[in-house]
């Protein structure tokens, strides 16, 4: 589930509020997205890759929250790690032309 919106990384662009398919985020008075309905998070990780500043972290546990701090995620280099693995950058799509899944599908049979 979504665990962290990094206040220092966030540029208050609103994109996560708009693109979250489960409507998990609200904006606070300063325009900062806040995790308003964490239990509705479907752990799809898409808010991470749509974020232009890699300001969020989704933990892998689907059924409930886990204790984790921004400092831990920063130290582990996990902010933006899924976007980098896909080839997305600054919230922009990219990298599907380098997807090697065809080799997996050939070998899968």
């Amino acid at each position: 589930m979504i665990e962290i919106v990094s206040e220092s990384r966030c540029i208050r662009c609103d994109i996560c509020v708009r693109v979250c398919p489960a409507n998990v985020f609200d904006k606070d008075d300063e325009g900062l997205p806040v995790i308003a309905r964490q239990q509705d998070c479907q752990t799809c990780y898409l808010c991470e890759i749509y974020c232009p500043t890699d300001a969020r972290f989704v933990a892998e546990r689907a059924s409930g929250p886990v204790p984790v701090t921004e400092a831990q995620i920063e130290a582990a280099g996990l902010f933006g790690s899924y976007a980098r693995a896909l080839g997305w950058s600054r919230g922009r799509a990219g990298g599907s032309d380098r997807d090697p899944t065809m080799h997996i599908r050939v070998a899968q049979v």
């Binding site: 398919p21 996990l78 899924y82 065809m102």
Partner: protein, 538 residues
């Protein structure tokens, strides 16, 4: 579209209203707009991220035209346990291929194979849906994000629109339409699947309230492995898995061999092993080259490992079988025409909202056929809806709201424990010993319990403002569960992803589909046997 229009208030009018913004909804909107219709696409979430495809990486059933296609269809048909329809399979693969070529023409960034040819038989979900949204917008479709539909409108003989709410503002909307396409996805029965949070069978309930029937609802026994307590129900890496107990003891299959390949025909064995106790996997059959392809090709699958600090190629990790309802299962709204019309005039269904039996029969269809089905059925439905809207014209004045359970309780509204209802519904549709291995007695007892749950929902569940969405989701899952168990009880045999522990054999007399309908009273009836049905059609 402009923000002004998005906030334009509760009444609007269009030719085609598409409900749902996964791939089927996107392609439906494109087909309808291409046919000259004014189109509104209302998504419960955000068109581009909502649904099961967006967070995934899916193969497609991609067969170019030519002689090999007939063979490919025949080979696939052999895997559908006699319930698919070759003609539908042909037209599905044909339309899906045309749509894939359309993506090429539009410049979607497909990869190239070793010979330098574009490889179009795979679509990376986040990129595909991001791209599709841009095309839908460019086609002039009005996209309403976070605008779930709650109910259909009808003038007494045809569906004439839908009504719902804006999750951001809590305000109501009502759109009158010449035709409506339900592309609302399948029902995941509240299992936390990748992208499955919003897949609560909403379209099934809305369609049934309008008088449509469903089919194939017994084929909800498809399960896929996922790392324990994760959302990653993606089977592909398990092709290279071995399975163990926590202490490292290999799990043996029924023939005494170590259990491997979690996407082959081993799901029975895995289900039995899981009923005995926790199961652990290791992807140790993947050679280094495959490890690299898996990591770079399926990066979502590695998020749980990387975030738990596990190397899945060398370390054991716990796995579950996650229930996939009609998302990777098969049932849905029964189609009555080649244009994905339902039995209700003005109402069309596509993707997982529609029964996929025409192309997958009693099997799952995995990702590939299902992705192609979404593309093709979306296209058929959008074109059909546009045609219907053009022939019928607008009759704006009419429009009775049809929503019942969860919206307009039959008796006095009173506080109802949502969490308890969710647990009661999950208890009948998720556990392996109830839904993977079914029995006649178990299904009968389950149906009785579900009648109690349904009575509570029908009579008392109600909500205000944005909370109405949750109430309707619960009602939709409850209705879907009742149809699923009714069909499963009627099908007195095992076939495909419907497994009766008390009736393990396939019975040729049951090479026929089962139609379910009704809300207050659920009715199940066998359809014509498959051969007769095909003769009728020809």
């Amino acid at each position: 579209m402009t923000d002004d229009r998005r906030r334009a208030g509760p009444q609007a009018e269009t030719d085609v209203l598409v409900l749902g913004g996964g791939p089927a909804g996107g392609w439906a909107a494109l087909a309808a707009a291409g046919a000259g219709a004014r189109v509104v696409l209302a998504d419960k979430g955000y068109h581009g991220t909502s649904g099961a495809t967006a967070p995934s990486n899916t193969g497609t059933w991609c067969v170019p035209p030519g002689e090999a296609r007939a063979e490919a269809v025949e080979r696939r048909w052999q895997r559908t346990h006699g319930l698919a329809d070759r003609r539908w399979m042909h037209r599905t693969v044909d339309r899906a291929y045309a749509n894939l070529l359309q993506l090429v023409e539009w410049g979607y960034a497909f990869p190239r194979d070793d010979q330098g040819n574009l490889y179009v038989a795979n679509l990376r979900g986040p990129d595909y849906m991001h791209f599709l949204r841009r095309k839908v917008k460019a086609a002039g479709v009005t996209i309403l994000d976070h605008h779930p539909a709650l109910e259909l409108l009808s003038d007494g003989d045809a569906v004439t629109g839908a009504a719902g709410l804006s999750r951001r503002s809590g305000e109501d909307w009502r759109i009158h339409a010449g035709a409506v396409v339900l592309a609302t996805g399948g029902c995941a029965f509240f299992e936390r699947l990748m992208g499955g949070g919003g897949l609560t069978g909403d379209g099934y309930l809305m369609a049934a309230e309008a008088g449509a029937a469903l089919s194939g609802m017994e084929f909800t026994g498809k399960y896929t492995l996922a790392p324990h307590d994760s959302s990653l129900n993606k089977g592909l890496p398990y092709r290279w898995a071995s399975f163990h107990r926590q202490d490292g003891t290999p799990i043996l299959d029924s023939k005494g061999r170590p259990l491997t390949n979690g996407i082959g025909g081993t799901d029975h064995e895995l289900a039995r092993a899981l009923l005995d106790g926790p199961v652990f996997a290791r992807l140790d059959l993947a050679e280094p080259a495959m490890q690299d392809w898996l990591r770079r090709g399926q990066p979502n699958c590695f998020l749980p490992y990387d975030r738990r600090g596990i190397d899945p190629f060398t370390q054991l990790f716990r796995v579950d079988l996650t229930a996939e309802g009609t998302v990777r299962g098969t049932g849905g709204i029964r189609l009555a025409g080649d244009d994905c019309a339902t039995e209700v005039p003005g109402l069309y269904a596509a993707g997982d909202a529609a029964s996929r039996e025409n192309v997958t029969g009693a099997s799952s269809g995995g990702g590939a056929v299902n992705a192609s089905w979404a593309m093709a059925s979306g296209w058929f439905a959008g074109a059909g809806a546009a045609r219907h809207a053009r022939l019928r014209g607008m009759r704006r004045a009419a429009g009775q709201a049809l929503g019942q359970a969860g919206l307009r309780p039959a008796a006095a509204a009173r506080p109802v424990d949502h969490a308890a209802l969710v647990e009661a519904l999950r208890a009948e549709t998720i556990p392996l010993d109830r839904n993977f291995f079914r029995t006649g007695d178990g299904l009968a007892a389950g149906r009785e319990r579900l009648e109690g749950v349904w009575a509570e929902i029908r009579d008392h569940l109600s909500a205000e403002g944005a909370e109405r969405l949750r109430a309707r989701e619960i009602a939709s899952v409850a209705a879907s569960a009742r149809w699923s168990l009714a069909a499963a009880e009627m099908r007195r045999e095992s076939r495909g992803v419907h497994r009766r522990a008390d009736l393990p054999e396939t019975d040729a007399a049951w090479t026929r589909r089962i139609t379910v309908s009704g809300l207050d009273r659920v009715e199940a009836r066998p359809d014509f046997p498959a051969t007769q049905a095909q003769e009728r059609a020809s």
